[in-house]
């Protein structure tokens, strides 16, 4: 067993460690069992995270105590809702060290954030023959919106390739930057390989070539300290539901002057200053981009999730999940002969481990693991081009979060041996 956060045993001067065993009590769902009576072993946090009580109660509190619309009501309850909603902006700004909370735009998820930038900024700034540089490891959310932009505007896409270990080839990136792209968009952490990309260096290189930079932080913000100012990014996007928050919550951060210059993405109520029958004037940022009643409860819940994560300390979260990745990369090949693992060494990755058992389809793997209460992802994880790159139809993926303990990786190993036994009998 890994020497992982045994309760209160650490006497090092290192930063506070996270105690996953104690904080598991914060997640009510971990006390549940599946239809076979097996306790939940949740190893699919990269798809969506579990929610702590603090988040559940924040959502519940809004619905029970001050369920009213924001930015409109004069009565006290509505002011309370507006206050809680706007306070989330401040919390999110603190979480990613954004200089100006008003440059946080609330969206449903990272996908919507990227679409917002693609429609609003992209269609105004990408023209005929302009290039956007992406990478081979992008989630479909950071690929398909750009395909639509270049198809419509007659631009081009280029892709930074990866090594067999799942690391971006920066020497090729450098060459692609000679094309003087208008935009470079890449993921901070790969949702399939777990690779943590050198986002600061890549951003500097892009800026030196005159490109703006959009970073997909969906797999980074929940798992490590993120500082958008230190990275130097122009656009940074992430989802709330992967960072212990509710589904339907998410954020786009961008440099204020970029947001000021961008036209609205969706139109309607709340995003306007004046409306006349034949013309309107836009509200200021960020409200210009938040048409209609948003998912108020979810965004307030995301604020509670940000508080929870900052309370744990993102450095401690990162150390914990990297140790889990290292443990999995060590235990799985030892305990499950023949297993194929994808992605880089533990030092270069977050808490994501994708794998295959030879001759067994990942859906069969996932289905049999389900009998033991073990939840993993099986499929292409919304990265079909990346799977093509490795000539794989699909992979199985185990992904970790603050509540994951090494015993669950042990359970996965036992479960995988059972899969092999069933298929070999």
């Amino acid at each position: 067993m890994a020497e992982l956060a045994t309760t209160g045993s650490s006497s090092q001067a290192a930063p506070a460690r996270l105690d996953p065993y104690r904080l598991r009590a914060d997640f009510p769902i971990l006390a549940t069992a599946n239809r076979f009576g097996k306790p939940l072993v949740y190893l699919d946090s990269a798809a969506t995270s579990l929610k702590p009580l603090a988040v559940i109660e924040a959502v519940d509190g809004y619905n029970r105590e001050y369920s009213s619309n924001i930015h409109r009501g004069i009565y006290e309850m509505a002011e309370r809702a507006t206050g809680a909603y706007e306070e989330t902006r401040v919390k999110i700004a603190r979480l990613i060290n954004a200089p100006d909370p008003q440059a946080i735009v609330f969206v449903r998820n990272a996908t919507e954030a990227i679409n917002l930038v693609a429609y609003s900024w992209g269609r105004r700034n990408i023209g005929r023959g302009d290039t956007i540089v992406l990478t081979e490891m992008e989630h479909h959310a950071n690929l398909v919106p750009w395909q639509l932009v270049v198809q419509e505007m007659d631009g081009d896409l280029e892709f930074v390739p990866i090594t067999d270990d799942g690391i971006l080839r920066l020497e090729v990136y450098e060459v692609l930057l000679h094309l003087r792209p208008k935009l470079v968009a890449f993921t901070h952490v790969s949702n399939m390989l777990g690779t943590v990309n050198p986002v600061r260096e890549m951003t500097e290189m892009a800026h030196a070539a005159g490109a703006l930079v959009l970073i997909d932080g969906a797999q980074a913000v929940p798992h490590m300290p993120v500082d958008v100012q230190e990275i130097g990014a122009d656009f940074y996007v992430f989802s709330g539901h992967k960072m212990l928050g509710p589904t339907g919550s998410g954020a786009l951060w961008a440099r204020r002057e970029l947001l000021d210059a961008m036209p609205p993405f969706m139109a309607g109520g709340d995003m306007i200053r004046e409306v006349h029958l034949r013309r309107s004037e836009w509200n200021e940022v960020p409200y210009k981009f938040e048409a209609g009643t948003p998912d108020i409860a979810a965004q307030i819940g995301m604020g509670a999730a940000a508080d929870y994560l900052m309370g744990l300390g993102l450095e401690a979260v990162q150390v914990h999940e990297q140790e889990l990745a290292r443990y999995a990369l060590d235990v799985l090949p030892r305990e499950v002969p023949g297993i194929e693992l994808y992605g880089p060494a533990a030092e270069l990755r977050g808490g994501v481990v994708s794998f295959n058992l030879p001759g067994i389809h990942p859906h069969d793997v996932a289905q049999i693991l389900d009998r033991s209460g073990i939840c993993i992802r099986a499929g292409h994880h919304c990265t079909m081009p990346l799977h093509e790159r490795f000539d794989l139809a699909a992979t199985a993926r185990a992904s970790f979060n603050v509540y994951t303990v090494p015993e669950e990786i042990d359970a996965l190993a036992v479960g995988l041996r059972e899969v092999v036994r069933i298929f070999d009998r």
Binding site: H361, H363, R371, A378, G379, C382, A393, F423
Partner: protein, 144 residues
């Protein structure tokens, strides 16, 4: 313990019946299930309205491959009308295990692919006879 992975299902997966290619199929179709990466090519040799020969190639999960193996055994020697009349429930009965909703697409890919192969063939015949018929594409929404 595992209803889904009974011995005969795994046996069909490991040693699928009718796995291979026909040299001159009268109808064929490649079906896929992008969600899982299951892929099956069905080849039929039809004469006098009867499926005389059938073969398939492909790769995918145990459920999709065992289903194709069982289905190809079943339809060989049947009339085209009989095959066209087969319903998803008929195939599920044939497979004989309880399929969870998430795996239905895997289980039914083989029948879907056969149906497309027959529809294509019927379309070509109709075209040869002067009436146009749009070719259908097997597809199902991809996840993510």
């Amino acid at each position: 313990m595992d209803d889904l992975y009974r011995d005969y299902i795994l046996e069909h997966y490991r040693h699928p019946h009718n796995f291979g290619v026909l040299e001159a199929p009268t109808a064929s179709y490649e079906g896929s299930n992008p969600l899982c990466g299951d892929r099956i090519t069905m080849m039929l040799g039809i004469s006098d309205g009867i499926v005389r020969e059938v073969a398939f190639t492909g790769r995918g999960c145990a459920i999709s491959q065992a289903s194709a193996s069982l289905l190809t055994d079943e339809i060989k020697g049947k009339t085209v009308e009989e095959v066209e009349a087969m319903t998803p429930d008929d195939l599920l009965d044939l497979i004989g295990i309880e399929i969870s909703p998430a795996r239905l697409k895997c289980a039914l890919l083989s029948l879907d692919t056969v149906a497309h192969a027959l529809a294509d063939e019927a379309g070509e015949k109709a075209e040869a006879g002067g009436s146009a018929s749009a070719k259908s594409q097997a597809s199902s929404p991809s996840q993510g």
